[in-house]
Symmetry: C2
Subunit: 302 residues, 2 copies
């Protein structure tokens, strides 16, 4: 029993195209319709045969949908929801994949006051963008967090959860505010810090950019991966999850200042204690299958 | 023509044991002697057959050496150098692999006033520690920075450079002060920031540690890798390269404050501009062979 027979995906970038590929792989009988606001992306999606049909307008993509998944930057959710409002059939469920949930729930609720809105967030991705970058196994063994609004229809929530399980994800339920706090520390702050240090390194006058690149294997290159992520998506994340990001940033800055002081005053014990404590977190992440056990991310040394 | 026929390695952890394995692989006729201050590590090194001989004292390891490589934390260099001072044969070259060069040059110069000291730093490693963690290809296509003191014997410098090239490394020459500035941004600051954010995340009261681990695939897990590096080594690096690290940290903090302000005031253009600029650095690192081109560090998604 499939949770949905007709699914529409609005936004065919890395995540939308991965959802399309995963639906094809796990639910081959589902009728899949797609749309993207960019005509060039629509053309590429057609060539890649991502969906049964790629429509030229968002409205045309949803006319007979049972599930509509919005896979656009979080700042564009309200606008896209408004575009489909008139064509959305009664009973259709609208979900999304955005990395901030309170702001998205508010935007979708305002644009679609009569629709069944069940926001969700698959915690998965890569630093690549565009319909070519997606792949069917992106959500395997990754968590998908579903954040039903208060009073949401339980059957609808369960169908969305079943959908994500069918794509290989582990599903968790959370309220939107808690989700936004958890993601602020596990995803948004790491991206902000990575963007910052890559910016700092490229602005130095005593060390050239070519030296930064040459000697990046000392640790810096790890940060450049997530700092290569989609600029529009991440601009929207920081603007939409502002309060939680600013709170986590404040805590991080305090901790960094404490370490700075330990270095300035030569307090080796404080440094050693922290550096010992952080090792155990890495171990737990590997034990719980959330990262590879091979050293150096399994990079090849030939 | 081998640059050296008899090589001694003091310190048989990740780097020392990798040097041993690489010497065996690339210069099988070299006589290799090793020592480690920890009796348990010596025992394991003997079982792993890393060297022709593993001696119980540092002095005994160097009595007939042409090249001695100190592979101990930078804070221990002076002490280890003092231990070998009496047994070091005339004409032997003393080198090291430390991540800070000015402080190491000073420590080795003070402990070995009559020896030929040519410090070096292979920019390579993983988050693992101990003699089991090393491997022969660790230095392949990585840079080794040689920092000869003023007035160093040119023939000795060239022999050390040839040694590292023979292990597969690309060699660069730099003065110690510039090395320390370059490494402060490409290696030391990234480690400090990674340690900090992993510490911040594990101290939160609104988000549990188990949530941090579960949802780490959103970006956080990338930081946990280098935050799992050896605590003693990194404590010493921050204490030894204090001035350069504090300068880079100050710049990073200013840039982070500017981004914090952009988020608070909703300045999306400032965020977007930085996030676009940082993408190109990643591209250069991949083009120059300093990281893997596969998305998500080539992590498997099965």
């Amino acid at each position: 029993m499939l949770p949905f027979q007709r699914i529409s995906i609005i936004g065919l970038g890395l995540i939308g195209s991965s959802v399309a590929r995963a639906v094809r792989a796990h639910m081959p009988t589902v009728r899949l319709t797609g749309h993207d606001g960019d005509a060039d992306v629509r053309e590429r999606a057609r060539k890649l045969d991502l969906c049964d049909d790629v429509t030229d307008t968002a409205g045309a993509a949803v006319t007979d949908a049972e599930l509509v998944i919005l896979c656009v930057p979080v700042g564009a959710m309200g606008e896209v929801a408004a575009e489909i409002a008139e064509d959305l059939p009664p009973g259709a469920i609208v979900s999304d994949v955005g990395s901030c949930k309170a702001s998205v729930a508010a935007a979708l609720g305002a644009a679609l006051p009569n629709a069944i809105v069940i926001p969700a967030h698959p915690v998965a991705g890569t630093e690549r963008s565009g319909p070519e970058a997606g792949f069917a196994t992106l959500f395997h063994k990754r968590f998908c967090i579903v954040t039903p609004p208060q009073g949401a229809d339980e059957t609808a929530v369960i169908r969305v959860e079943e959908f994500w399980r069918a794509l290989g994800a582990d599903v968790e339920r959370m309220d939107a505010e808690h989700h936004d706090l958890v993601l602020a520390i596990t995803s948004h702050l790491p991206h902000l810090i990575a963007y910052t240090i890559v910016g700092t390194a490229s602005d130095l006058e005593q060390v050239t950019q070519s030296e930064v690149i040459k000697y990046s294997a000392g640790g810096f290159r790890d940060f450049t991966r997530i700092a290569a992520s989609d600029p529009t998506m991440w601009r929207d994340v920081f603007l939409s999850n502002k309060d939680a990001v600013l709170e986590m940033l404040q805590r991080f800055s305090e901790d960094l200042t404490a370490l700075q002081r330990a270095i300035r005053w030569g307090d080796g014990d404080a440094l050693f204690d922290l550096f010992t404590r952080t090792r155990t977190i890495r171990r737990s992440i590997i034990e719980q299958g959330q990262d590879d056990a091979s050293p150096d991310f399994g990079r090849t040394h030939e």
